[in-house]
Symmetry: C2
Subunit: 401 residues, 2 copies
C-alpha cells in the first residue's frame, strides 16, 4: 500500500500540488483558475498562490479572460509557456531519425527528419545525425527560452533503471548507453530519458491522442520488428526491468520462421513488415505498394494481406485476453496494414473471450508517425511536472545550440 | 497523475494512516511501535496515538515486550487480533469447495474442504455446499469475535465492478451473480468480494508467499482450464473490466485442438490437465499417476510430459517477454506438472529475450493448494485495511452461524 500521505511535510505537499497543477495545464492547455480549483479539489486561494508561483518561475502565464461567459466573476486563464519552456525529443527508428523541439503543453515548435537507409547503422553515424538534427532544432529556440530535458525513443529493449539499450536487433545494438552518448554529443548535463519506441508511443496516444481518457491501452509499433507499449490502470507497464511489452516475441506459430531473436514463430515473423512483403510475394516492395496492388486487384498481394491480417488478429486476440485493454492503437507499419486488413483482423479477434472483447476498441494513432516522438517529449517533461521548481533549479542549464 | 495529497483533510490523513498501520501489522504480524515508526515515516507520538486507536477498536493488542534486546527503551509490541477479527474465505474449483475462517494477520483459524465430482455443477447444489461449509466454519468463532468480510475465488472470468462471474466454462456458469447468492444464502449484509482463482492466488503468494517482496508476479493456476493472476508494480493487474490475465487462451498452436472457449490452439489445450493426460495416452488417469508412471520409466508417460513441458515453457517464455516478471509461480495442476517437466520448461524458456529472462525466477506456491483461498481472505480484508474504523462501523454485522 502506498504511503503517499503519511509523513508528508508542508513543503512536499506544496511541491506535489505545483506539479499536479502544471501537469493539468500541460495536458489540457489553457485552463481557468476556477477549473483548476474544480479539477484539483484545492481551494481557490491555494490555486491562486500556486499558479502565481508557476508564473513567477516562467512556466505559465496568467491573463484575465477577454469576454465573460455566464454568471460570476471571470476567472483568470492559466496558459503553459509553450515557447519559453521546451524539451528536445528524438526518435531513432530503422529508417528515420527525427528531432523536435516540443513546448510545454505538447506543441511541436520545430521538427526535422532524416530518412536513413536500412542496415547502415554505425553507431558513430547515428550519433552524428542525432547531434546535427538536435543542434539544428535547438538553434531555433529564442534566447529567453529554456530546454528542460531530452527524451529519446529507440526501437529496442531499454532498461528502465539507466536507459541502457539492452538489445535493438534491428539496429544491431547490444548494451548501448544511448542516453549518455546523446548527452556527450550535445555537451549537456540535462537529463536524457531513453525509452522503447512503443512504450513512448503508448504514452503520447494515452495522454493526448487516440487513447485519451482510456486507462488500459496497447500501442503496437513496428517497422522491421514489432513492439508493444502497454498502459494499465493509467500507468505505463514496465515489469521488473522495464522490458515488458515485447509483443513481437509472442510465440504464435510453432511451424513459423526463425526470428531475429533466435526463437521460432514469433508474432513479428508473421505480421512484421518483412513478413507482409514475403506473404505478398514481393520482398523488395513497400507496404504502401502492396496495399495499392491489393486495392487494384492483385491476387498475390491480396492473399498476402489476408494471411497477415489473420495473424494480426490472432495476436491482438491474445493481447485482449491477456490485458483486457479499452483500446488497441495500430502504430508503425500497422498504420497501413490495419486498415488494409481490418476485416480479417476483426474476424480473428472474434476468437477472444467475449467479456474482454466487448470492451476493446481498435484505433489508428492520432499522431500518425510521430507518436514515439511525442511520447519522448512527454517522458522528457516528466521530471519538470513531478517537481517544477526543483527541476528548474537543477536542470536549467541552457543547451549550447 | 494521482492527486493523492491535494485537498486531503486531516481526518482523511488520519484514516489513511490507520489503514496503513493496520496493513503493516496484518502483513508483518507482531511489530514494535518503533518498527512501525521506521516503516511509516510517521513520528513516534502519532504512531502511538494511532495504534491506541486501533487497540480501542479491538483490531490490535498492545503489550510491552518481555525481554529487552539492545540499547534504549523497549518498544511496545502491536499484534493483530487474529482470533477476534476474521473473514470467511471460500474457494470454488472444479473438484473442490473450501471454506475457511482466516484471522487478521493471515492465520487460518478453521478450514473445511469438500471434494466434488466433476461435471456435477448444479448451481443450487454448489450454493448449498458453500452455505454448509461456510456456516460450519463460522460456528467455531467465539462470541466476542467479528467477521469483517467474505471473499470467494472462482475458476472463471469475473467482472471487477460487481463480482459477476461472466464465464466459468469449466463450471458451466455464464453471468452468475455469485457474490449476491452467497450473501443471500448466509443471510448477511457483509460485503462479498468475488475474484478469479488465479488473481487471488497471485495476491496471496505476493503478500506473504513465494513471491513476497517481488513487485511483478505471475501466478499460474489451473485444473481443467488454465488461468493467470498477474501483479505488476505491486498491484494486481485488472484491465478495463477485471478480465485481464486469461493466459490459458493465448493462441500458441494454430494446428492445435479446439478449446472450450471456441478458439483453436489455446495454451490450455496444450498444457491443461486434460492435455497432459491425453499426451500421456491415459485420459482416465490423474496427473499424480502420470508423474509416478514417468518416474517408473513408462515411455508414453515420459513422452507426454516432455510434450507438455515444452508447451509449458513456450507459454512461460511468452509471459516473460510480455510482462517481465520477477517470479512465475506454478499453482494448481502445475504444482505437479512443473517439477515433473522442469528441464523442458527451462529449455523452452531459453527462447525468451535475454533481458527479461535473466530477471525471472520459477517457483512453487508457498501455500500449496490454498493460494486462492488465502487470496480470497486478503481480498475480504481489503475494505478493513483501507479504512479500519469506517469498515468496522459499517460492516460489524455479526453473521448468524
Amino acid at each position: 500500500m502506498a504511503n503517499s500521505l503519511a509523513g508528508a511535510t508542508q513543503d512536499e505537499v506544496r511541491r506535489h500540488n505545483l506539479g499536479n497543477l502544471l501537469q493539468l495545464i500541460h495536458v489540457h492547455g489553457a485552463t481557468s483558475r476556477s477549473d483548476l480549483t474544480a479539477l484539483t479539489g484545492l481551494n481557490r486561494s491555494t490555486v491562486g498562490a500556486l499558479t502565481t508561483e508557476l508564473a513567477d518561475a516562467g512556466l505559465v502565464s496568467e491573463q484575465a479572460p477577454v469576454g465573460r461567459g455566464g454568471a460570476g466573476r471571470p476567472s483568470i486563464m492559466v496558459r503553459p509557456q509553450t515557447q519559453r519552456v521546451y524539451v528536445l525529443a528524438l526518435d531513432v527508428g530503422v529508417d528515420h531519425i527525427i528531432a523536435a523541439r516540443v513546448g510545454l503543453g505538447g506543441e511541436v515548435l520545430d521538427r526535422r527528419e532524416l530518412r536513413q537507409s536500412r542496415g547502415d547503422y554505425q553507431m558513430s553515424k547515428i550519433l552524428r545525425h542525432v547531434e546535427q538534427l538536435g543542434r539544428s532544432v535547438l538553434a531555433g529556440a529564442s534566447p529567453d527560452s529554456v530546454c528542460v530535458g531530452i527524451g529519446a525513443g529507440v526501437c529496442g529493449v531499454v532498461s528502465h533503471a539507466d536507459g541502457l539499450v539492452r538489445f535493438a536487433p534491428n539496429l544491431g545494438w547490444v548494451d548501448v548507453p544511448f542516453g549518455t552518448q546523446i548527452a556527450d554529443r550535445l555537451a549537456t548535463t540535462l537529463p536524457v530519458v531513453v525509452g522503447n519506441d512503443a512504450d513512448l508511443g503508448a504514452i503520447a496516444e494515452h495522454v493526448r491522442g487516440a487513447a485519451k481518457g482510456s486507462a488500459n491501452v496497447i500501442f503496437l509499433s513496428g517497422e522491421v520488428g514489432v513492439g508493444g507499449g502497454i498502459i494499465l490502470d493509467g500507468r505505463p507497464m514496465s515489469g521488473a526491468g522495464g522490458y515488458g511489452g515485447e509483443v513481437g516475441h509472442m510465440a504464435v506459430n510453432p511451424r513459423g520462421r526463425l526470428c531475429r531473436c533466435g526463437a521460432r514463430g514469433c508474432w513479428e515473423t508473421e505480421v512484421g513488415e518483412e513478413a507482409a512483403l514475403l506473404a505478398a510475394g514481393r520482398p523488395e516492395a513497400t507496404i504502401e505498394q502492396i496495399v495499392a496492388l491489393a486495392d487494384a486487384g492483385d491476387r498475390q498481394a491480396r492473399a498476402g494481406l489476408r494471411r497477415v491480417g489473420g495473424w494480426l488478429g490472432i495476436g491482438v486476440a491474445n493481447l485482449v485476453n491477456l490485458f483486457n485493454p479499452e483500446v488497441v492503437v495500430f502504430g508503425g507499419v500497422f498504420r497501413q496494414l490495419f486498415p488494409a486488413t481490418e476485416t480479417m483482423v476483426r474476424a480473428a479477434l472474434g476468437t477472444a473471450l467475449s467479456a474482454p472483447r466487448e470492451q476493446v476498441r481498435l484505433a489508428l494513432p492520432q499522431f500518425g508517425g510521430d507518436s514515439t516522438l511525442l511520447g519522448a517529449a512527454e517522458s522528457a517533461f516528466a521530471p519538470l511536472l513531478d517537481d517544477p521548481l526543483g527541476a528548474l533549479a537543477h536542470g536549467s542549464v541552457r543547451l549550447r545550440a
